[in-house]
Symmetry: C2
């Protein structure tokens, strides 16, 4: 198995993804939100790139069946039911619902890789579950970090490092330099992720906006044993596919 | 001062470089070679992207005044005077010579940033000299790693981390996430760079080719107190410009 990591979706050549697992990471907060929503019983998540696309899509749906969700520039979109805070995605709110979801970086990364065979979503909340999925599939794997504003983002890179470590506990594999860098960057902070995460621009931005509880939640490793999977434009719990 | 780092020249927007220092890093081995050559008295280095371009360029030159130098796929180019090994660039060979130089990654990175105002070359050999240059100029600075085969390369990234540390000893500055990642990746290996460098693909490739002495040389921190600078397509010791 060969593991490759891309720091943003900009540097991806879509043809390189064929016949591989693709793991999209947007720890703060899109993939953490989606993992939480599915764990709490959401029926499915439909990622869309643009706010207008989300509004257009729900016109044909029964209001009882869906929730409009997402953010722009880290804040809630006017008229939407849910923001990009995982704490809002309680079982009470999301169970059996279709969630139409748009975020600045995460959903764009998902669109970019949607042609790949096997797209799963990773974050710290499900790091071990993702590693187990890769191990079981035994396919070459490409980690695609969502990044922040088109750039290398600490939170995603550290998460890639955690997944690398979990995978290392399960199997031997080869990897590219960025995958190894993620691991070696994370390794000294294994028992205190917060210490390294706090250096990141996006972390600081969310902290300045007062999202301390969101950060704490998203930094919890292995809270949920599920793997969200994108298929035909819809994200479901991989166990249901 | 704001410090930004790019893992390869592919992700650079040339317009972003205006009015900034640009530090090009290709530790294994182009910028190490150029630094060594200038330290040993070479008159100037003319970087060219293609082998044919180098051959064309020297047609109009007196054979006593220049040396053809460089590599393709880490090995010497047929008919060239020097390879990409810094050990060959002795004072005896290079003093007062113009060196026409082409390498797989390094010279391409130099071409890409050549429109910027202030392009200097960094490696481990001159890490402190580069930090001092940045400190003295007090301009926003962009580190551009040459990378290996268009990808994130450990050797360049660790060098960026060393320059970050040297700069931190001189001044306070802000930086982007990748700059910080370089520093935090390097930090635990401050006293044993070899230990982290050996994880890199390019390092392993050079080792497999038997370039152990080159590696050892290129991994020496602060051997030379000079800063190569690119101006009008020619690289000279910045002290002479």
């Amino acid at each position: 198995m060969f593991l490759q990591t891309f720091e943003t979706y900009n540097s991806i050549n879509e043809r390189e993804l064929k016949d591989k697992n693709v793991v999209v990471i947007d720890t703060l907060r899109a993939t953490s939100v989606i993992t939480t929503a599915l764990y709490n019983g959401a029926k499915e998540i439909i990622p869309v790139s643009e706010v207008e696309e989300a509004i257009e899509l729900v016109k044909s749906l029964d209001k009882k069946t869906y929730l409009l969700a997402g953010e722009r520039n880290s804040t809630k979109i006017e008229g939407f039911d849910l923001s990009n805070s995982p704490l809002e995605y309680t079982r009470e709110k999301v169970e059996n619902k279709t969630i139409i979801f748009t975020t600045t970086n995460g959903t764009k990364a998902l669109k970019k890789v949607s042609l790949a065979d096997n797209v799963i979503l990773g974050c710290l909340l499900n790091a071990s579950a993702v590693a187990k999925y890769i191990y079981t599939s035994n396919k070459d794997t490409v980690i695609v970090c969502a990044g922040t504003e088109g750039k290398f983002s600490f939170d995603d890179i550290i998460t890639a490092g955690v997944i690398y470590k979990k995978l290392q506990d399960l199997m031997k594999f080869e990897s590219d330099d960025l995958s190894k860098a993620c691991y070696f960057l994370y390794k000294p902070y294994e028992d205190n992720l917060y210490e390294i995460m706090k250096e990141g621009y996006h972390f600081k931005r969310l902290k300045d906006l007062g999202y301390d509880e969101d950060i704490e939640f998203c930094l919890t490793v292995d809270k949920f044993d599920i793997v969200p999977k994108l298929k035909d434009g819809i994200i479901k719990n991989s166990a249901d596919l």
